[in-house]
């Protein structure tokens, strides 16, 4: 049996989670303080998933860039491919929070959305 010590990244609590595994299968999860922690630990042992946050260019906004976030976690290994797509995007103000900026980023099935509203200048 293999034991893995993880730090949950789901929220800033940062729970220390212990996962017991055998032949690539999760036997038990302990140390988490919520169900999200258990889901995180199970997923982390198979394929690490992360939220991506970045910025895209915005025209006519009060700032030059608009912060964006993936609606859900995407595979960690897709980060680079996702960033390559993010760099190509330019949007126009005004933008509302949660507006879809990019659909199906890097073929993950997850949308990239605006993480704030930005008025037009």
């Amino acid at each position: 049996m293999e034991t893995r010590e993880l730090i949950c990244v789901t929220c800033p609590m940062g729970c220390r989670i212990t996962v017991e595994m055998e032949e690539g299968k999760v036997l038990s999860v302990s140390g988490n303080s919520c169900p999200r922690g258990e889901a995180y630990a199970r997923q982390e042992c198979i394929q690490p998933m992360r939220i991506l946050t970045s910025t895209v260019r915005i025209e006519n906004g009060i700032h030059r860039v608009l912060p964006v976030i993936t609606e859900k976690e995407i595979p960690l290994e897709k980060m680079e491919a996702a960033m390559a797509e993010v760099r190509e995007v330019t949007v126009n103000a005004p933008v509302e929070v949660n507006d879809v900026i990019l659909e199906d980023i890097a073929g993950t099935g997850v949308n990239l959305i605006a993480s704030r509203s930005m008025q037009k200048i």
Binding site: I7, C8, V9, M13
Partner: protein
């Protein structure tokens, strides 16, 4: 001179929460003074996620978290003066500010809430020798350039200090195409949240050099190279451990300090342990009617607790405005063994109307420990604690009943389990 019921200085996470809470408590005639061109404060540049889990039960980016509070403030018709810099605060609760719209103005209020945030410790405070080229930034300054102004600050990066902003910038710069060579931490343990070590460094194979520091910078116009050295237990560099990294950018994430010059100039009594004002259980400072909260009081690690604390300070201010009464003698609350500070620093047993939550930090990492709250020779509370770290703020509550019966000063201590 225009007079308000309450003035809130600062329109960031603390100020917005304080203003919303004042309104909800029936304090209508208030104004928020904010120096930036929009409300939200430092949250606007913290574009990463992880905010709001306590407050909204969901995980938001910094700007999205701020937007929720801005909306609440708008719905409650909170007046926010933007591009407005407060230059003076006095004990009589007069506040002087400047803005391009109004010029140089002095206003007054029955209550003032300081929600002024904190600033970053800079290079001058940590004595790195060498030249003074471009390319050396505090991590938060670089974060602002990148996330709000839209400028990339460098391509080959080293980070000094394992504070959370430094860790988050390590990931951010990597995703933006920079090469981050490493993060150095002078202490033998990390100063950032464990989750950020995981998701910002380990996810991207960025090395963390514990017990190391940057000892020298090289370069004339632009940074060209840094010298990294291991340090001994007294934090002195060990000769022979020099390593060199060819980098064009050094980010400093070496600590945050409450922005306290307004309070100091007003003659408010400061607590050297937190470098912010001393406050009682209603978050009132030593100056009557002046309250303090958020990172301007003591540096927090989660914005959710900033909002929570600011709401309590606003409730304290509302209570003060409604009651205006003498709250009787104060009993001090002090840090004991292994505890760096406590907030609040005193309570009023004769006016113990609610439970009081104390915020504190331990001085060193401890695996197994026991929290002990005592008053005189009476132990009020013992609680087993696991995995305590200076980077993670701890909380403990005393009930109104317990506070009402206090006679001697309260000590909050953490003892290592045998």
């Amino acid at each position: 001179m225009k007079h308000y019921q309450a003035i809130v200085i600062g329109g960031g996470s603390a100020g917005l929460s304080a203003a919303v809470t004042l309104k909800k408590n029936g304090i209508e005639d208030i104004v928020v003074l904010e120096k930036d061109c929009e409300p939200g404060g430092i949250l606007e540049q913290c574009i990463h996620n992880g905010f709001g889990l306590q407050t909204f039960k969901e995980q938001l980016s910094g700007p999205a978290y701020a937007e929720r509070y801005v909306k609440m403030a708008q719905e409650l018709n909170v007046e926010i003066k933007l591009n407005t810099m407060v230059t003076e605060l006095h004990k009589d609760r007069t506040v002087r500010y400047v803005s391009s719209a109004e010029g140089d103005v002095t206003i007054s209020a029955d209550a003032v809430i300081l929600a002024v945030g904190c600033y970053e410790r800079a290079r001058g405070a940590i004595n790195i020798t060498g030249t003074r080229p471009a390319g050396i930034y505090t991590a938060g300054q670089a974060q602002r350039y990148l996330n709000i102004e839209g400028y990339m600050v460098g391509k080959k990066v080293f980070i000094l200090g394992s504070g959370d902003i430094g860790l988050i910038m390590a990931r951010r710069m990597t995703l933006e195409g920079a090469k981050v060579y490493g993060v150095a931490e002078i202490m033998p343990y990390s100063n950032g949240l464990p989750r950020n070590i995981r998701q910002c460094l380990e996810d991207f194979d960025i090395p963390l050099y514990l017990s190391h520091t940057v000892t020298k910078t090289f370069g004339k116009d632009r940074l060209e190279k840094i010298e990294l050295m291991q340090v001994d237990e007294k934090m002195n560099p060990i000769p022979g451990t020099e390593q060199y990294f060819d980098v064009d950018t050094l980010l400093l994430s070496v600590g945050l300090i409450p922005e306290n010059h307004l309070a100091e100039d007003a003659g408010i009594i400061m607590d050297p342990a937190i470098r912010g004002p001393k406050v009682d259980d209603t978050y009132m400072t030593s100056a009557e009617g002046i309250f303090a909260c958020g990172n301007g009081l003591h540096v927090h690690d989660l914005v959710d607790f900033v909002s929570l604390q600011a709401a309590r300070a606003a409730e304290g201010a509302a209570k003060y405005l409604k009651e205006h009464k003498d709250r009787g003698r104060a009993v001090a609350v002090k840090p004991g063994e292994n505890v760096g500070y406590t907030v609040p620093t005193c309570v009023h047993p004769q006016d113990a109307c609610a439970n009081v939550e104390f915020f504190f930090r331990v001085r060193k990492p401890m695996d197994e420990a026991v929290l002990e709250i005592r008053s005189g020779d009476q132990v009020l509370r013992t609680m087993k604690k696991r995995k305590l770290m200076p980077s993670e703020m701890e909380r403990a509550v005393l009930t109104a009943k317990e506070i009402a019966s206090l006679k001697e000063e309260v000590i909050i201590a953490v003892k290592e389990a045998a």
